[in-house]
Amino acid sequence: MENRLIKLKKSMDQTVFSNLNFTEQHQNEIREKAKNTIENDNEITLAILQLLVNNRTGHELALLLNARGVSKFVDAEGMLYTLLHELEHDKCIQSNWNESKVKYYYLAKKGIGILRKSEIKNTEKQVSLKELFGGEA
């Protein structure tokens, strides 16, 4: 047994690992994701506020956040709803049920204020300001 195990590297390299390669493409995808990953909760909150410039359902938000590199809600939408609930409790956002009984979230006054402040600090994010104020920003 010991003799066979000592050759384990060779045995595995020739079988299960024979077409397992960490390629340049893998590296590129990782670099892309690493760059796009939004790092902390503040940034996630800000991203949510930015997305709620338009009315969105929780599910839409999860998808859009994922597109922005926030992948933590993909298999755990519940976490997103907890966060949305907190934001609603803090009066940053509001929600409503539409006629087809789907819950929509949108910015409340406080949320708009927070967003505006952050936009002043960060010129890169002016795109959503434009959306919010019809292109005046």
């Binding site: 047994m1 010991e2 066979r4 195990l5 000592i6 050759k7 384990l8 590297k9 060779k10 045995s11 595995m12 020739q14 079988t15 299960v16 690992f17 024979s18 077409n19 397992l20 390669n21 960490f22 893998h26 590296q27 995808e29 990782i30 670099r31 994701k33 690493a34 760059k35 990953t37 790092e39 298999d75």
Partner: protein, 194 residues
């Protein structure tokens, strides 16, 4: 200044004697350089390591991707107390185990996993014709062992790590590692003789 020291010493595969603040002051460009170094040095090893846990090529590739992104995000938590390789491997091992424990794996992927296993077995059986039969049987038997036995065999025999290194990586004391290695070999022997 510190950044350059960090990047320089990185080339050797580990960081020696760098102060705690060093990684925290890394800018985005430096963090990317570190990420690239980590991927070049350890990418292939991590992919294999993850495969040894999940036994599925695509899942191993996805998880490896997540692991490196996670490292990039947590670079500021690396304090230089452990070798960077140990730090990275621990993240990889925990991430793989979390995945195996996750609701998603247990409830959604189960049937797929079975089919993947069969595929892997089929591929291997085809190769059996060409290559030595008992080597392959050994690998199949190991990949079908419970995780706690599979991981010690893999780290000890494939990666040639010491008992001490294993103990650090999987967070169990050396005696536990020894016991698991012995038990793993017994199990393996039984299965190969069946």
């Amino acid at each position: 200044m510190n950044v350059y020291r960090l990047i320089d010493s990185w080339k050797g595969g580990e960081i020696v004697g760098v102060g705690e603040m060093t990684v925290e002051i890394l800018g985005n460009e430096d963090k990317e350089a570190v990420l690239n170094d980590l991927m070049n040095t350890y990418g292939q090893e991590i992919l294999r390591l993850v495969y040894s846990y999940v036994n599925d090529k695509e899942m191993a590739e996805d998880l490896t991707q997540e692991i490196f992104v996670k490292c990039y995000k947590s670079l500021h938590t690396y304090k230089g107390n452990a070798k960077i390789k140990t730090w990275l491997w621990r993240i990889a091992i925990n991430h793989s185990k979390d995945y195996l424990k996750s609701w998603h794996n247990k409830n959604v992927i189960v049937s797929e996993n079975e089919s993947t296993n069969t595929n892997t077995n089929k591929e291997m059986i085809e190769q059996l014709v060409i290559q030595k039969e008992d080597d392959h049987q050994l690998v199949i038997a190991i990949m079908n062992l419970p995780i706690k036995y599979r991981e010690v065999l893999y780290l000890f025999y494939y990666e040639n790590l010491s008992l001490k290194e294993l103990s650090v990586l999987i967070g169990k004391n050396e005696n536990t590692v020894k016991t698991r290695l012995r038990r793993a070999k017994e199990l393996l022997k039984e299965r190969l003789e069946e």
